[in-house]
């Protein structure tokens, strides 16, 4: 965190900044912020750590949350920060300045921008991106869930949002702190800090892979939610998934960086408009594809996207099936699946989109190589 802060803000005098954000003097926005934070202090508790119950801990927690909100006013306080900050404070053994720095590093540096602000836009994007990744990596489970969603929509006038959303939203927002035991969460956080926010996607995929079999038995959306709520209760006390197993799986899924992740995020950032009620971010996968055609042109204009810089390099790289032996159909192993994103139904129908997917399958390593060659020539 120190390293990040020094690099990112070389001109910041940290002593002054720290005393500013931790100042006892009341700032203009403090009342509103303070009210919101105080509302959540006593209800921060979750299994494993009970910081919420201790009055002294609550005061320190409040100071850290207020300090962050003063530091980054565009983000302020977001529900869920209390969970993150209390776990950080647990690690720093109550050192509020260290906790503040880690918080800044994590929220401003490691996690995508707008994860906690601006209507949580980036979180909505990641929820949509995750559904795509799930479709590609665990197609059976994804198909089953889509089926349940569709059925629920047909059966009544009601509308069922994508089934994974409830969970991914919470997992990503608290970085798994509310769904896994503390020791596991801390190991995951180490990974996030070391290897970036794509660990969120990897761990979430690994969890779904573990849940897959049981979830596959659910015959309706309602049954799915009930099963999930039971399973998540045992997950939080460590009875469902083992830390070693989850982390190993998360790293084995695919190479780093996660292929196509940044492209998918970009795509959905343009596609999602959480502000308009009609264009809810939770449109079904098929609907989501409708906007793609028009958006690809937008994305294609992006100069900094390495992906479109070399239009000549669009031939798909042959897949390297590292492990060909199949375990069981149910226990779909994530790493056995091709590195290439599967096309969704509507993408197949649209020539434009299929071309885009072809491009997506371009190996980043090849691009890097090409880039280096060009630079050498220059």
């Amino acid at each position: 965190a120190e390293h990040y802060l020094d690099n990112q803000f070389p001109n910041e005098d940290w002593k002054t900044a720290i005393s500013r954000v931790f100042s006892d003097r009341i700032c203009p926005n403090d009342e509103n912020l303070g009210n919101q934070i105080v509302k959540d202090l006593h209800r921060t508790g979750y299994t494993g750590l009970d910081l919420g119950s201790n009055y002294d801990n609550q005061i320190v927690l409040k100071r850290v949350l207020l300090a962050y909100a003063r530091w980054n006013q565009s983000v302020g306080y977001c529900q869920g920060f209390n969970v993150i900050a209390s776990l950080i404070l647990h690690v720093t053994v109550g050192d509020e300045i260290a906790a503040f720095k880690i918080m800044v590093h994590l929220v401003d540096g490691v996690l995508p921008e707008n994860y906690f602000a601006n209507n949580l836009q980036a979180l909505s994007v990641d929820m949509a991106v995750f559904r795509d990744l799930l479709r590609a990596r665990l197609p059976q489970l994804s198909k089953h869930l889509d089926g349940l969603q569709k059925e629920a929509n047909e059966h009544s006038s009601s509308y069922e949002p994508p089934l994974t959303n409830v969970f991914t939203m919470q997992w990503f927002l608290t970085l798994f702190a509310t769904c896994l035991p503390t020791e596991t969460v801390l190991r995951i956080w180490d990974c996030i800090m070391l290897d970036g926010n794509e660990i969120l996607m990897r761990v979430a995929l690994a969890i779904w892979a573990k849940l897959g079999e049981k979830v596959g038995e659910a015959q309706s959306a309602d049954e799915f939610y009930c099963t999930m709520s039971e399973m998540m209760q045992s997950a939080v006390i460590g009875k469902l998934v083992l830390a070693d197993e989850i982390i190993r799986l998360a790293y084995r899924i695919t190479s780093f960086p996660f292929p196509h992740l940044s492209q998918l995020r970009e795509k959905y950032t343009f596609n999602i408009t959480p502000f308009a009620a009609e264009n809810s971010d939770d449109r079904s996968a098929d609907e989501n594809q409708e906007g793609v055609t028009q958006n690809t042109s937008e994305i294609a204009n992006f100069d900094d996207s390495p992906f479109f810089c070399f239009p000549g390099l669009t031939s798909p790289i042959p897949l390297s099936p590292s492990n060909t032996k199949m375990k069981s159909v149910k226990q779909q192993s994530l790493e056995q699946l091709p590195n290439r994103l599967k096309l969704t139904e509507s993408q197949r129908h649209s020539p434009h989109n299929s071309m885009m997917s072809e491009r997506m399958s371009t190996n980043i390593a090849a691009l890097k190589h090409q880039y280096m060659t060009i630079r050498r020539r220059q």
Binding site: Q36, K39, D40, H42, R43, T44, G45, Y46, G52, S53, C78, Q79, G80, N82, V83, F116, A117, N118, N119, L120, Q121, L123, S124, M127, S156, S157, S158, Y159, E160, P161, N165, V166, M169, Q170, L173, T174, T178, D222, Y225, C226, M228, S229, P274, F275, A277, S280, D281, D282
Partner: protein, 213 residues
């Protein structure tokens, strides 16, 4: 709005237990309970949404297709009452358009009460459970036939078994005589135990409910 006691109400309803320091909701949570209405078993699926303004965009999709909604405010914080109309707009825009609303103000015990009580020595506190609260219940239904108030006896209840199901079953019973397909929105003025700090009167809340059907 945040901290009005939505999750606490849900927890009471599904677990039949009062939960002190009920953790706040991150995003959305799911609750379910089977109730019996006129001999028929009905499974209720309840979505509990996060109250903070910024979550609205991500929780909205869970309104769609709802058969009913509970709008909760905190009687001790006027701001939560003032925001009702914007929540109502969302609820109206995203649910069934031909909506009938029931309005109910109900007093319950929530985390706030517990916080206040925690300052009382533990011995006394333990003797105070279950806390007796008087629930004021007035139901007014507005349908095609106009207003038909259903007076309910004031009853003494204990914390933790405050029966939200009474409200819901009332809604269901009355609704079944109508077309039965309409959505219902309830208004709940929460934290009635903190009457001394009351910021929103029962009458004005009732007026709000009546004005909005």
């Amino acid at each position: 709005d945040m901290g009005v006691g939505k999750s606490c109400l849900l927890h009471q309803f599904t677990e039949k237990k009062f939960m002190a320091d009920c953790p706040h909701t991150i995003g959305v949570e799911f609750g379910t309970r089977i109730i019996e209405v006129s001999g028929q078993k009905i499974k209720l699926q309840i979505w509990d949404t996060a109250g903070q303004e910024r979550f609205r965009a991500v929780t909205r999709s869970y309104y769609r297709g709802a058969a009913g909604a509970l709008m909760v405010y905190d009687i001790t914080r006027r701001s939560t009452y003032n925001h009702l109309s914007s929540w109502l707009t969302d609820a109206r825009n995203l649910t069934n358009p031909n909506t009938v609303k029931f309005s109910i103000n109900k007093y319950t015990i929530t985390g706030e009460q517990y916080r206040v009580m925690k300052e009382i020595p533990a011995v006394i506190w333990s003797h105070m459970v279950p806390v007796q609260v008087v629930a004021e219940l007035t139901v007014s239904t507005v349908g095609n036939t106009g207003t038909s108030p259903v007076p309910l006896e004031s009853s003494t209840r204990t914390a933790g078994v405050l029966s939200l199901e009474d409200i819901l079953s009332l809604g269901k019973t009355d609704n079944s005589s109508d077309s039965g397909e309409e959505d219902v929105i309830f208004l709940i003025g929460n934290k009635g135990d903190l009457d001394a700090q009351r910021d929103v009167t029962y009458e004005e809340a009732k007026q709000f409910a009546d004005e909005n059907g």
